[in-house]
């Protein structure tokens, strides 16, 4: 079988699985939607954390920002946001299906763009930091964002916002959000697959391996770093907007800026799957999500202990991750080969 056909079958079956899984297992639709979102998290984290070597602990910032921006736009298009979010419930919330869908579409677009702008602004500040300082700096920004939103009454403060009701039945609603998650994760993957085939990936890798050298070679390092972060922000902003609507209620600390759950999960999934590869984050996300759901179901009470043990094993004994391990074991599959067929002589080369 030729390689092209194998690829078509491989990607085709993943797409088919993605389309039919919620139809075959309707009880798991929400879980499956969450799985796609986890894949998106891992993929976007790996742009900086894996490919560029900047371990951000604050990417969740864009998730939360996207969520709030999308929500505010959705509501703001048809109602007064301050009245809507006021705790005494001054307005009667009733969205027609036209209002609902135009709201969510506009909200997601605005969220994505706004997150890119936020990434550029914060990038300008935090990219002065390197190594562990960058990790702590970004973590600080994400936590601060959660606290700030919690103190902002216009968006409901710590009390959060209930999102507009979906104009349809619960099964339709689940399918609608499943498809949004599925499509956004697939788009992220396809986009990154393209991005990693261009110069952009090599520049990111160069920054990862030796940023000073990259500067000395004249690479526009700041430009690459900022744009890479903007890509993360773009997709995370969209995912935040979707997730907010999917859960139906958002508040700053647990839902929008969950630094200790989603914020850390996105790092762990990448470490588990293998940093700096396209498939590593995807594999890591799937395995992590499975383990997480299984322990939450069968080891309830000990689930955080099990997760902690997984983290320790991963970090201490298995730093390279699944893809990294595979590359060490079968280097030829990754194109790492010795080629002794020296073509031509030096004289020929210089002529």
């Amino acid at each position: 079988m030729n390689i092209k056909l194998t690829k078509v079958i491989f990607y085709g079956s993943i797409l088919l699985a993605g389309i039919f899984a919620p139809i075959l297992f309707p009880a798991y639709t929400f879980q499956l939607a969450l799985l796609w979102m986890m894949i998106l998290f891992a993929l976007t984290w790996d742009i900086l954390g894996g490919q560029m070597g900047y371990n951000s602990l604050g990417n969740i910032l864009f998730f939360g920002a996207g969520m709030y921006i999308c929500t505010v736009v959705q509501i703001g298009m048809y109602y007064d946001v301050a009245e809507y979010t006021a705790h005494f419930g001054a307005v009667k919330v009733d969205f027609t299906s036209y209002q609902y869908f135009t709201g969510i579409a506009t909200g997601l677009v605005v969220a994505a763009i706004a997150c890119v702008i936020i990434a550029v602004i914060f990038g300008w500040i935090v990219f002065g930091l390197r190594g562990p300082y960058f990790a702590i700096g970004t973590l600080g920004v994400a936590i601060a964002a959660g606290e700030l939103v919690g103190a902002w009454d216009y968006v409901g403060g710590g009390g959060g916002i209930s999102l507009p009701n979906y104009p349809g039945g619960p099964a339709d609603r689940e399918m609608f959000f499943y498809n949004l998650c599925f499509i956004s994760a697939v788009c992220t993957f396809v986009f990154l697959k393209w991005l990693y085939s261009t110069r952009f990936k090599l520049a990111l890798n160069a920054i990862r391996d030796d940023e000073e050298k990259a500067e000395a070679m004249g690479i526009h390092t700041n430009r690459y770093k900022t744009i890479a972060w903007s890509f993360s922000a773009f997709f995370l902003g969209i995912s935040g907007g979707i997730f907010g609507n999917m859960t139906g209620f958002i508040e700053p600390l647990e839902v929008a800026f969950p630094t200790v759950t989603f914020g850390i999960f996105m790092v762990l999934m990448v470490l588990l799957g293998g940093k700096g590869t396209l498939w590593g984050p995807v594999i890591g996300a799937v395995i992590f999500h499975l383990i997480k759901e299984l322990t939450w179901t069968y080891l309830l009470g000990w689930q955080w202990v099990a997760l902690g043990a997984l983290i320790i094993i991963n970090v201490v004994y298995f730093q390279q991750g699944i893809m990294g391990w595979a590359q060490e074991k079968w280097p030829e599959l990754f194109g790492i080969t010795l080629d002794e067929t020296n073509s031509g002589t030096e004289e020929k080369i210089l002529s």
Binding site: L195, S197, T198, R199, F200, L202, A203, N205, A206, R208, D209, D210, E212, K213, A214, E215, A216, M217, G218, I219, H220, T221, R223, Y224, I227, G276, G335, I336, T337, L338, D339, E340, T341, N342, S343, G344, E346, I349, L350
Partner: protein, 247 residues
């Protein structure tokens, strides 16, 4: 002869340590210029000042018609002044070809080039240069797994890939075995002759620097001790006392 780099009265100190005091140097276009001196005499500091790695305290540095002492590292590199490091620096988790590709010149890159593919000619050029330094067979290996000497050769090839006008080499032969050194001298000369790259070389190996350079500067304790042709430097009593020692 046209002077491509002109350093005038450059001072640089780190706290109380004066690393460079009133240094003036001319690097002539198309030539190979050497820079020697004992350890800690300020050679690498001077290199760092030229490529914009740190700001200088006073003085001027001109490259062609640009005053570059206030510019940043990347900008200077894109003008065509490139340096290699004493502690070899390569992109250690990428293979050699990728190391070469990302080292191609960045001075004319547009925003859209960030997302373009590498043209076939560039890959071919990368492979030719890898063959030039004798690493063609190892081009798909992860560069960090190469030996130190091979990494040094790779770094040199990466610099050539960037098509600089001036290349500042910080101890190109340190840690390289004697047989390879001869090959390296030959390649440095050819880079100078055939690719037209001006070289400015820090080197402790006297055989190498005397063989390569057409003019040599000698630093000691941050000050300019002497300058001249290799023959003149060899005979200079001050240089012998401070650095070469009597044989």
């Amino acid at each position: 002869m046209k002077k491509i780099i002109q350093v005038r009265d450059v001072n640089k100190s780190f706290g109380g340590v004066i690393a460079n005091r009133n240094i003036s140097i001319d690097v002539e276009e198309g030539k190979i210029t050497g820079l020697i001196g004992p350890n800690g005499s300020g050679k690498t500091t001077l290199f760092n000042s030229i490529v914009g790695y740190h700001p200088i305290d006073s003085g001027t540095i001109h490259f062609e018609n640009h005053e570059i002492s206030k510019l940043r590292v990347q900008k200077i590199a894109r003008l065509g002044v490139l340096r290699t490091f004493q502690q070899t620096r390569i992109y250690s988790k990428m293979n050699c070809v990728k190391n070469m590709l990302i080292s191609s010149a960045h001075h004319n890159t547009k925003w859209t080039d960030m997302f373009s593919y590498y043209p076939k000619e560039l890959t071919e050029r990368a492979e030719k240069l890898l063959e030039f330094v004798g690493l063609y067979g190892k081009r798909f290996l992860i560069s960090g797994d190469l030996s130190f000497g091979q990494q040094k050769l790779l770094e040199f090839a990466m610099a050539l890939m960037n098509e600089p006008k001036v290349l500042l080499l910080d101890e190109p032969t340190a840690g390289i075995n004697p047989t390879l050194i001869n090959g390296l001298i030959d390649r440095l000369k050819r880079a100078n002759n055939e690719f037209g790259i001006t070289l400015f070389v820090i080197e402790h190996n006297m055989r190498v620097v005397m063989n390569l350079a057409e003019s040599i500067y000698c630093l000691a304790h941050g000050e300019m001790l002497s300058k001249g042709t290799p023959e003149a430097i060899k005979q200079d009593q001050k240089v012998i006392d401070a650095y070469l020692g009597a044989h």
